[in-house]
Amino acid sequence: EPEVTQTPSHQVTQMGQEVILRCVPISNHLYFYWYRQILGQKVEFLVSFYNNEISEKSEIFDDQFSVERPDGSNFTLKIRSTKLEDSAMYFCASRGGGQDQETQYFGPGTRLLVL
């Protein structure tokens, strides 16, 4: 069964450093998302991406964040200068195609720790 994959599973970085989180969505999906979950809190929407551009972004998604689909398979989230409060689980999700087109399928997440 197709699935969303994410790398790395864990990332530890120093405050101020840049990180790139990678995702490979399900191959025939057209819509891509990033969410984050701070430990003990609810899952929060960051950004949606369709047709090579951002469809919507939340207030969390400020100028420190960017997304890119550099090729036909990868979807990346870059945090340019990490802050302590960026420590969270980051989930990639994708949807689109067929009868189940409204369902978002999540990757296993990347656990980011900023020191």
Binding site: V43, S48, E102, Q104
Partner: protein, 112 residues
Amino acid sequence: AQTVTQSQPEMSVQEAETVTLSCTYDTSESDYYLFWYKQPPSRQMILVIRQEAYKQQNATENRFSVNFQKAAKSFSLKISDSQLGDAAMYFCAYANDYKLSFGAGTTVTVRA
């Protein structure tokens, strides 16, 4: 912005028994989707069940079923014949257009 409310932070159920998780949401839309996701200790988000708002029939997936009350904006999840593997955090989510809005989650523990 849509608001999703899960009023039960924790629920406990005896193995083989039934537990119902509540969820309410706020929207002015008539066409939308609702989901329940399960998050085990690994923290992966796993789809449990989905419901289209235009369908009156309640969705069912094996031991999982929902009670969708559109007028009341209520979307509860029933887990029947609970198993130890059902222990997890359960999130209710609302979808319209581009994004999911999640509730705060309900932690389900299953007693052997």
